[in-house]
């Protein structure tokens, strides 16, 4: 059972194109569009870009997709959590500084944007697509929960920009 789940996970983790498009032409266009976007992200971010973060995500998910991965009863990072995090990464505007990724004992995935310990944003992504965020911006702090509906919520994008500047 675990092997089957991990095989499915690995298959999906390493698939680069995700599209709902049907028909040969639509699929071709979607494929070209996705590939173009990948190239642009790599080129624009000069180094480890958003696609680098997706690679990091794949590695992390493989390590944390089993029960008790922390030796203290942690929930596995599920395929659904992986999909949600990947969608969030892919929804980031081109040129956005790539976050680092991590796993949490409740099976959520963390994305972190960091400049200094007091200028940082941490977003926990649940398998249900909730974004629990918390940010220190100098002496100010912002935190809350936003749903993810395919676009990164404005409040989160605003904080990412503030961390970057």
């Amino acid at each position: 059972m675990i092997i089957a789940e991990m095989t499915t996970l690995a298959h999906l983790a390493f698939s680069h194109i995700s599209t709902d498009a049907t028909g040969e032409t639509a699929q071709y266009i979607a494929k070209q569009s996705n590939e173009g976007r990948c190239r642009m992200q790599s080129a624009y971010s000069l180094g480890l870009g958003v696609m680098g973060a997706v690679d990091e995500l794949r590695i992390m998910v493989k390590q944390c997709s089993v029960e008790n991965w922390d030796g203290y009863g942690a929930a596995p990072v599920t395929l659904e959590a992986f999909r949600q995090a990947k969608k969030v990464l892919e929804a980031l505007p081109l040129g956005t500084i790539a976050p680092t990724v991590g796993a949490e004992p409740d099976g959520h995935i963390t994305l972190e944007w960091y400049k200094t310990p007091r200028r940082t944003l941490s977003v926990s992504i649940s398998p249900q697509g909730e974004l629990h965020y918390a940010a220190l911006l100098g002496q100010k702090k912002r935190y809350g929960t936003e749903p993810f509906w395919g676009e990164v919520p404005d409040v989160v994008m605003d904080i990412i920009r503030q961390v970057e500047t």
Binding site: D70, G71, Y72, H132, Y133, A134, K141, T145
Partner: protein, 130 residues
Amino acid sequence: MSNKTELPPIADDELLARFVLFSDWIRHDQTVRPNAFIPHPYPNLSVTRHRELSEFALWQIGQGIADKRSLKLYGRADIQAIIVKAHSLRIEPTLEPKNHANITGWPADKPGQKIIAQEIAASARFVPKA
């Protein structure tokens, strides 16, 4: 005599160690990530009091925790008790294991926990395992 009277109270300037068992709890610049201090989904966060322990004894405790969980000990994140108390959290010492304490009183919601964990992490000092 009750257990509570046997345990010395935690002073504001006392140092507490959170053992680092995951490399991604530490950033490239050796600062501590907030994930090291988020209790969720557990109600409490475990720490070890430095009180009356030598460096050697402190690392022994950390290594014991890592061994029990079949994980590598990367180091420890030290925090002052007053930083924890400043966020209306309580530090409750326990009799066993030696010098153990639970940080309790966390908000129930995850963003509420995350923001406190960020504040604590920003004040923490990472000490790598030699």
